[in-house]
Amino acid sequence: MPVDFLPLFVYLLLVVAIGAGGIVGLSRLIGPRRDTAEKLSPYECGVPPVGDAREKFPMRYYVIGMLFILFDVEIIFLYPWAVIYKNLNEHFGLLALAEMAIFVLVLLVGYLYVWRKGALEWE
């Protein structure tokens, strides 16, 4: 049975209208506008800023990003199993559990490898 998505879209429109349009727009209209020299520079605790903010930053963040994608994709593969697990269990018995255990085991090997390689250390 297809779900009626209309309420969701109406709700989305209202949220966007209130959130983006109403609140951010309204404070632009009401608020004062006074530019001073100090306001024109990024806040660095009162000290004149040095250089640009967009510089190199540690590789660690990329590693975490890649690990996230790997593990999240594997979890997405676990969801279909989870949702029909009761059904599987009736028809295939322990095989359904064993399938998942093997999958998690493979995941675990990758996880231990990542750990041993030191990708989880934050130095």
Binding site: V3, D4, F5, L6, P7, L8, V10, Y11, L12, L14, V15, V16, I18, G19, A20, I23, V24, L26, S27, I30, G31, P32, R33, R34, K39, P42, Y43, E44, P49, A53, R54, F57, Y61, I64, G65, L67, F68, F71, D72, I75, I76, L78, Y79, A82, V83, I84, Y85, K86, N87, N89, L97, M100, V104, L107, Y111, W115, L120, E121, W122, E123
Partner: protein, 316 residues
Amino acid sequence: MTEPWRSLVVIVGVLAIALLVIMAQVWLERRIIARWQDRRGPNRVGPFGLLQLIADVIKLFTKEDWTPPFADRPVFVLAPAVVMTAGMMSFAVIPFAPTIGIVDLNIGLLFFLAMSSMGVYSVVLGGWASNSKYSLLGGMRAAAQMLSYEVFMGLSLAGVVALAGSFSLRDIVEAQRHGWFIVPQALGFVVFLIAGIAETHRLPFDLPEAESELVAGYHTEYSSMKFGMFFVGEYVGIALVSAMITTLFLGGWLGPWLPPLAWFGIKTFFFMCFFYLMRGSLPRPRYDQLMAYGWKLMLPLAMLNLLVTGAFLAAR
């Protein structure tokens, strides 16, 4: 009342009550934490300081809405709108009572996970667009933290899905008629709760905006209602995670004597207060401790929970 009109009333009602609860939370949190810390909290404006929240909103509106000239303008404006929209959208799939809920998606749980992932964009975009060092640091920290904790947030829910055999939140609540999932899923519950706190970056996991080292993190350069959106977004997150815990682990609207909506409200309120208690009592960990905690402890625990749930269901 015909069906479309009823639907519209529910939509507007949910939106209005959600916004009211979220604003009231700001006042409630300040009062409750003040009690725990032997202070009084806001008590001057109106009875019990209740009008404080209206005063705060008026103040935020009348402040200068300032977009820094050094910032990336479109992204800078987009980021606070995303945090609010993504947070509020998740309320659409939550069943508040047997007949009250905006939409009953058959993939409700996935919708919630998707929307909570959207929250990551707002902090990264906000931090990057500000072009300020504190903002960038806060944004990157927030991104790494939220990504890490999202991994096992998703994994901890697989147990609930296996027990209920459905992604629909309504079906999950109905499946708890003969026992709340907090009992068979105690481990999953703890993992989800911790992940939820980290996702909303509340204390003790508020490293992205640790004021003692990063000023205000990713929203350092924001002012007026744009800052207000980030601020409100945090409380949207608290209300949302509390409501999700109630739905997934505590049987949602189920309960004796009282009407369903009241049960839902009581359970959600309890977890909101738990969030405040965490803020009032726990210190902030170091960033490397936070990441190690997530990847080295919570992820294996979430995997273990899944295996145990599978074995438990097979043995039954």
